[in-house]
């Protein structure tokens, strides 16, 4: 079993739709969970940073963590064509200076 798994997509949705992106993981030591957005041939851009289980909202983005199921989600409300990118989940066990383990990414296309 891979350490972090994501559906690679591509996921195509119409503009304005609610998008749900998900990751599963196997290492129960992970406590810190991040979502990054990556445009083609660019660096990952940090969207959300969460600790342990629960929800966190920031504008149109909501991150959810369910540690008991080893499952995290990112919801995008009112999706826009500019949201078209690859979304990467990443996670780590500690809060300082530890490398992230990334998922392979989900490619999202928001159609106008």
């Amino acid at each position: 079993q891979k350490e972090v798994e994501q559906d690679p997509g591509p996921l195509s949705v119409p503009e304005g739709a609610i998008v749900s992106l998900n990751c599963t993981y196997s290492n129960s030591a992970f406590q810190y969970f991040m979502w990054y957005r990556q445009y083609s041939r660019k660096g990952p851009e940090l969207l959300m940073y969460t600790y342990s289980s629960g929800n966190k909202e920031d504008g149109r983005f909501t991150a959810q963590v369910d540690k008991s199921s080893k499952y995290i989600s990112l919801f995008i409300r009112d999706s826009q064509p500019s949201d078209s990118a690859t979304y990467l989940c990443a996670m780590s066990a500690n809060n300082y200076g530890q490398n992230f383990v990334f998922g392979p990414g989900t490619r999202l296309s928001v159609l106008p």
Binding site: Y49, N95, Y96, Q98
Partner: protein, 112 residues
């Protein structure tokens, strides 16, 4: 807004040559990282650096790789003798006391 910068944006080299990739992390950050992403694949951790020494490294980071912080602002990755399979995007990242890692735009390394 502070950001991580990387130079060059694209480096082409011959197999067996040495390359140095340069990064300027966010100025008050304490932890520095190098990741790589082979085209179409996931982001992979190479090395983390704190307090002027390597704190963690992956299996990818073998004797051909080295990192250095030669002054108060730059953070470099050296590949001593490049191989074809070193062709990838190399991302530098930095974080403060909490593990929110901010990534640079990347250097695309092409080994011929």
């Amino acid at each position: 807004e502070p950001e991580v910068t990387q130079t060059p944006s694209h480096q082409v080299t011959q197999m067996g040559q040495e390359v140095i990739l340069r990064c300027v992390p966010i100025s008050n950050h304490l932890y520095f990282y190098w990741y790589r992403q082979i085209l179409g694949q996931k982001v992979e951790f190479l090395v983390s650096f704190y307090n002027n020494e390597i704190s963690e490294k992956s299996e990818i980071f073998d004797d051909q790789f080295s990192v250095e912080r030669p002054d108060g602002s730059n953070f470099t990755l050296k590949i001593r003798s490049t191989k074809l399979e070193d062709s990838a995007m190399y991302f530098c990242a930095s974080s403060g006391p909490y593990n929110e890692q901010f990534f640079g735009p990347g250097t695309r390394l092409t080994v011929l």
